[in-house]
Amino acid sequence: MTQPSLVARITDFANRADPYPLYAELRRTPVLHEEEGEPYVISSYWDIESLLHDPRISSDAANMTAAGADELQSESTGLPPSFIRLDPPEHDRLRRIANSAFGPPHEPRRVDDMRGELHTIVTELIDGFAGRTEVDLVDQFAYPFPVTVICRLLGVPREDEPRFRSWVDPLVASLDPETRQSAGPEFVQAAQEARTQLGMYLAGLVEERSKDPRDDMLSDLAAGKGPDGAMTMMEVLSTAVLLLIAGHETTVNLITNGMLTLLRHPEYLQRLREDPELAVNIVEELLRYEPPVQLVPQRTCITDIEVRGVTIPKGSRIWLMLAAGNRDPERFKDPERFDPDRDDLQHLGFGSGIHSCFGAPVARLETQIALAELARRLQDPRLVADPPPYRPNAVLRGPRHLTVTFDGLNP
């Protein structure tokens, strides 16, 4: 038997804990196309960056289906595709409206004003470790924190938060190419079901908020202030579902990968303890070194394009391997080293171009506060297992559990 293809090895769960040697192998063929019907895999920093800005590359879910991927079409759940799966002009309109409920110029302070609240949530969660010397940072901290935050931002009541897990888990799992391939029709159906349920729940909320607006994003989205008018109810729903999911899984992994990396590099943990400001650089370097979104599998080209002398035919699927680009020696000095002191803190962790991460400002702030507080309060934290157990997902990669022992809590 010949060796399985590189793509198969990357999606293979066995390599989840350390995919980086595979990425290095990938970069040797910057435009990799292993078999007819397989995606074109792009792994160098400059190529990825340039394709993220290329108007010949489509994110439209409809083009993806045409290219023979993604049996998980959102239409079948009754919700229209969210802006992440749309091209301009629809993408631009929806993202602009969503943005007007989220950031400048309409809501310039929404994120920054949450600083205090984020601190409070983090403090409560860490206070909850009292009397213990071992916790799973995923279940006890990294998961509940961003979930609470995104629910607050959107305006979802706290008591409803637990219900999301059962909806969000199958939805997120469905983003994983491997899981999707190996899973049967029940799996696909479960994901669609979850999306529909989440949609219905949110529809109820949106209706409440449009009658009785509050200071939250769902109220703003329902009211549709801003120059582009309002979203339809269905658009509000798919946007809210998108933000919920994106707000869940990515930051969880960023925080968890962050703690894992710091525990593997105790000198930085120590420095962060002494200087919380260092969190800014640490988070940027994490987004390069261990990005929660490892690859973007949702692009197709709408015309023949040439990348490094290879012609990618019109209609082909393209995978942009962000995590591989982030450790591209053509771009970064000493790329395999975790070094928050590098003077060139750049990365593809949030993507780039029109689809660059919408929630980046919140994710940054959450992770900075989370890591700084964990570093400050946990006395002598140690990893129980290295590597920790991982989630199956190759796209949104992160530990399933991160068990940490410690001697006690600082006040």
Binding site: E49, S50, H53, D54, P55, R56, P88, D92, I302, T303
Partner: protein
């Protein structure tokens, strides 16, 4: 031998920078960053430490930033001698000395000239001196204009609808002031972006309640008995009453102080080679005098080695860094200033950006979005290749356009893009005005396209 000189220069040479603003500061920082340990002197005629100009016509006018708080952030300690508030008045090339207006002299081993440009004043001095007539280039200009606007102006007339004038008009409207804009061309921004895009800009003005008058010139500013401006007379014989007039007629290069020095300096700036070394008036490159920023005029490989004068923030930074590097390195390590021209502006809530040299293009194609929505990407073509691009609220595609320009991508653009509306399928004439007609302020000027039409003309230093 030469290597010894460079070694010595880096260690204990004297470097003088004239013009203590954006380009001057960035050059100084780069010199230190690259290991220059000799003496460093910055000479500036303004009394202030280097500050940033772009906010002056944007957030400062709107009161969101104070003119006193636009200092440029420092990248590092400089350990430099600052001679602020005193202009350089002359240059002795053979004696390697800068003469200051206060009579002092400063010796140098290498000199960087970064004196920038100044606002072109209203040409009739008595009218220019009327109370209520402003230009906007410096921090002091901004302070005076902001105070006047806050003191309750009734109507503002902006003369000239280039980038700066349009930004002023936009800020005034945002403050709820009545604004008339008078422009010689058929639309705003025509000199920089052409008539097609100018028409889009005109809609922006009109929609935001600007009283836009095009194809007119201002013939006179009228004052009252107290010496305050009270009305503006236009070439179509109309009269607009105004208590504030902002003259936005482009700029003049600060090169007079070099007249007679023998340097290739004149009203079009100081010519240099691609490595920022100034030419003398005979076109021979000097080795000790470098130029950077708005005052420079240098050949650009991507644009047929045309000499470009760019009044762009990013150009000042990049050129300063290149000049500084070249000033203290051996000849074999010098690099050319290959910065891709890029410019941004924000007006009427729209973010406008361009890369490349739009006025060089004669055709235009919309490749993303639509001009009707005022969100689009347009690319400019010249002789079968893409030479520039402009975006309105679509800046994220600019990187792609930049690469197209760098790679000499073919024009017209034949491939589909993810958002091409029907209007984008055909190239149209970009509609730039006849270059032989004067405009108030293109943000780029080109001279001498091919070596054949580059003439050696000595231009004495008067304007």
């Amino acid at each position: 031998m030469a290597a010894d000189y460079v070694d010595w220069l880096r260690r204990e040479g004297r470097i003088v920078i004239v013009g203590a603003s954006l380009a001057g500061l960035r050059a100084a920082e780069t010199l230190r960053e690259e290991g220059f340990t000799g003496s460093l002197t910055l000479i500036g005629d303004e009394p202030y430490e280097p500050y940033d100009r772009p906010p002056l016509s944007k957030s400062v006018l709107l009161g969101k930033a104070s003119p006193e708080h636009t200092e440029l952030p420092r990248r590092r300690e400089l350990d430099a001698e600052w001679r602020l508030g005193v202009p350089a008045a002359g240059l002795d090339l053979t004696g390697k000395r800068v003469l200051l207006a206060d009579g002092e002299e400063v010796d140098y081993d290498r000199l960087l000239i970064a004196t920038g440009v100044r606002a072109r004043p209203w040409p009739v001095p008595e009218e220019a001196e009327l109370d209520g007539v402003f230009v906007l280039r410096t921090r002091d200009d901004a302070t005076a204009l902001t105070e006047k606007l806050r003191a309750g102006a009734r109507r503002v007339v902006v003369i000239g609808a280039g980038f700066a004038g349009s930004e002023v008009a936009s800020a005034c409207r945002e403050m709820g002031l009545e604004v008339t804009v008078a422009e010689r061309a058929g639309a705003p921004l025509v000199g920089a972006l052409g008539g097609v895009i100018g028409a889009v800009a005109a809609e922006l003005h009109l929609e935001n309640g600007v009283d836009l008058r095009t194809r007119v010139t201002v013939t006179a500013l009228e004052g009252d008995a107290m010496g305050r401006v009270r009305a503006v007379h236009l070439s179509d014989e109309s009269v607009v009453e105004a208590d504030v007039v902002v003259v936005s007629l482009g700029s003049m290069r600060n090169t007079e102080w070099l007249s007679g020095s023998g340097l290739g300096a004149g009203p079009r700036g100081i010519a240099s080679d691609a490595g920022c070394r100034a030419f003398d008036f005979r076109g021979i490159v000097t080795d000790d005098v470098f130029v950077a920023g708005d005052v420079a005029r240098s050949p650009h490989a991507l644009f047929g080695y045309q000499f470009l004068s760019l009044e762009h923030w990013g150009n000042a930074v990049a050129q300063a860094e290149t000049a500084a590097h070249n000033m203290i390195c051996p000849a074999s390590d010098r690099r050319p200033h290959m910065w891709m021209p890029a410019f941004w502006s924000s007006q009427f809530g729209v973010n406008i950006k361009s890369v490349g040299v739009p006025p060089m293009g004669d055709e235009l194609m919309i490749i993303q979005g639509s001009t009707a929505e005022r969100r689009f990407v347009g690319v400019y073509g010249f002789k079968g290749r893409v030479v520039a691009a402009v975006t309105f609220d679509n800046a994220r595609w600019l990187e792609y356009c930049q690469r197209q320009i760098e790679q000499g991508a073919p024009f017209p653009v034949e491939y589909p893009t993810v958002d091409r509306r029907p209007e984008g399928r055909q190239p149209v004439a970009a509609d730039f005005p006849d270059p032989s007609l004067p405009t108030h302020g293109p943000t780029v000027t080109l001279s001498g396209y091919s070596p054949a039409d580059r003439r050696l003309v000595f231009t004495p230093g008067h304007h």
